[in-house]
Symmetry: C2
Subunit: 417 residues, 2 copies
Amino acid sequence: MSLVIKDAKIIGKDGRSDVLIEDGNIKSISEEEEGEKSIDASDKYLSPGFFNTHTHAAMSLFRGVADDREFWDAWPKVVWPLEERLEAEDVYWGTKLACLEMIKTGTVAFNDMYFFMESAVDAVEEMGMKAVLSHGLIDQNDPDKLEKEIESTKRFVEYAEKSELVKPALGPHAVYTVSKEGLEWCADFAEKEDLLVNIHLGETKKEKDDFKEGSHESFAEYLDEVGLLNERLIVAHCVWLEDEDHSLLAEKHVSVSHNPSSNMKLGVGKPMDYGAMKKKDVELTLGTDSAVSNNNLDMLEEAKIAALQQKMLGDATLLSAEECYEMLTKKGSKALGYGSGVIEEGKPADLILVDKDVRGVPEHDIISNLIYSMNGYSVTDVIVNGRLLMEERKVEGEKEILQKASERAKNLVSGVI
Amino acid sequence: MSLVIKDAKIIGKDGRSDVLIEDGNIKSISEEEEGEKSIDASDKYLSPGFFNTHTHAAMSLFRGVADDREFWDAWPKVVWPLEERLEAEDVYWGTKLACLEMIKTGTVAFNDMYFFMESAVDAVEEMGMKAVLSHGLIDQNDPDKLEKEIESTKRFVEYAEKSELVKPALGPHAVYTVSKEGLEWCADFAEKEDLLVNIHLGETKKEKDDFKEGSHESFAEYLDEVGLLNERLIVAHCVWLEDEDHSLLAEKHVSVSHNPSSNMKLGVGKPMDYGAMKKKDVELTLGTDSAVSNNNLDMLEEAKIAALQQKMLGDATLLSAEECYEMLTKKGSKALGYGSGVIEEGKPADLILVDKDVRGVPEHDIISNLIYSMNGYSVTDVIVNGRLLMEERKVEGEKEILQKASERAKNLVSGVI
């Protein structure tokens, strides 16, 4: 079915346009287009949707269970014991809950690493979003465990490859939870199967100190040594990296997912060094991390917090609204291997409409208003691969998702928190 | 007219209640109340509304004009020249725009300092909010200017005293823009007329360095010397204070308005030392500052950013969601001299209803969800002094305000930005 967005103010473009969408792509943009279904955008902005490059969607079931505590306190005592209880059905409803929130706040695609990921594939397919999903591979230096994790990973990749909307990826959890052999296997398998790889890196000082004790040179050199440091890799956090790491990440075209809210809320001690990375031309994107450490998945809020966090220590010119907007859209899309994130003929139609409301007035600078004044709730309509997932803030099946996710979550935490 | 909120889940209280409002106050809370008008709150939370203890409402006309620049660059070059152009009619529509945004995000009362404040009184009265308003007194050490400013201040106070909803206050701008004589006059006049006093203090390092060069001991000692340091005073920012300042602020029961978004966005260099102030029992509240340095007036967003900012440098336990909630409600109300901020029989009915939506699911911790997951757009209904200002997200006169404020703003910046 063809869909036309009528009379739209495209952010960054003068005047108003009609945008015709056919077969999932932007077919044409002109002053006058007609389609089978039409959306009036005359009092809204049209923008590429947002790309959340690091989250753990199903953890939305645990929203609010680990607040105001350090990572190394809350995770071992609360989050990991809760995760021991997880079943496939929990991940299914948890992922649906997260997708619902992401759609409602303008996210069109996300990068996820977790467990029971076949269920996450089902959830994403049903919700209509796009996602890069990976099974979180953790072997704790145990060869038997690694063997099982490789099996799980292969099974998941095979399952996900059948999906239209999900790209399977590999998810070696971190350098402190996966053996060298495990990382090397991931590097080889990713190359062979042409898959993206998703890893946590340098989130806490403890991670760095422990790593240095293991007589390694630097995080990035180690990832290079095991064969992971290339354009397939998306590294999350990157707070406790050094300048030589930044250089290597840039040189090898690795994508970084910056997760400021999570880093701040967990008290990791300092901001990721955005300024240094930008100087080296590292590929920078934004992610919310999970709802346990954020506690929402609102990419516009994440962008504002990212900018404020960088400026806070003294340089108000660091990380402008324009740069945030690029990270949310074009750069995020590139990191996840989609050709969208821009509004151009022939590109996938991953689009959102935004209500300017009181926070968009006055209209001195639309991108400033979007990043610094509005938030995800300003989004009214979401289109992914040309399909309308939210119309006038309504998403199909919302009530059932909220009810089922609530029930699963209540049962999971019973007796733990 | 009596108003009853039916079947409400009051935040912090078990079960569900009916809340009867009469003559502006909470008349009774029980399982079954009846009133002339009734609001169904069965799928919402009932909370005290929020108190924004530092803003410059009319500056909403300048939203987005000074982004990604230092204060001492953007203010002299952009903001102050724009302010030179302001007329009373601008302040009227700018304040209405800000009130509209505050109502839509759950704020019931605010503390404001600006110019043409008679127009702000009219705007507040018409919008139905409560406000502590002050004429920003600036004399730049010029006795003639001080005399004129005293006249303006007296005229404003006389005008505002007729208002039902506005409390006039005094607004000596800062220690670097007002002479010692000016500050002393404010202290005397405030005592004589029983008025609150609103001042900026220790926002930037430059302010502190300049102040120290003037051979003063400490900010707080100086304010004490001029007679301002007492329970009437609300000091904004307080970033570049020292521990002896904190002790004096606590001892004299001064209220502090913490403005984290503004401090971060303007790159003031470090967070206000919340931990040190809390230890000394300083009265702490939250303010958004103006839409130029924020760029919105959303108190729930401000609270989340406050918590993240404090935790960021290493202590994730600092400034919990519960503490944020108290600052937004009870503590904010106390600082502005209202007896509300709590839901109790006999208190002024300054209340909001909140839609839990997807961000309030699951319901492990309602206050956590409110502070860390939701934002101002989660608010659906706002009641001030018992009067319903927003019902199901609709505010009277919204369209005209957006249109008029847009026009005034466009004319103001024409040729400047």
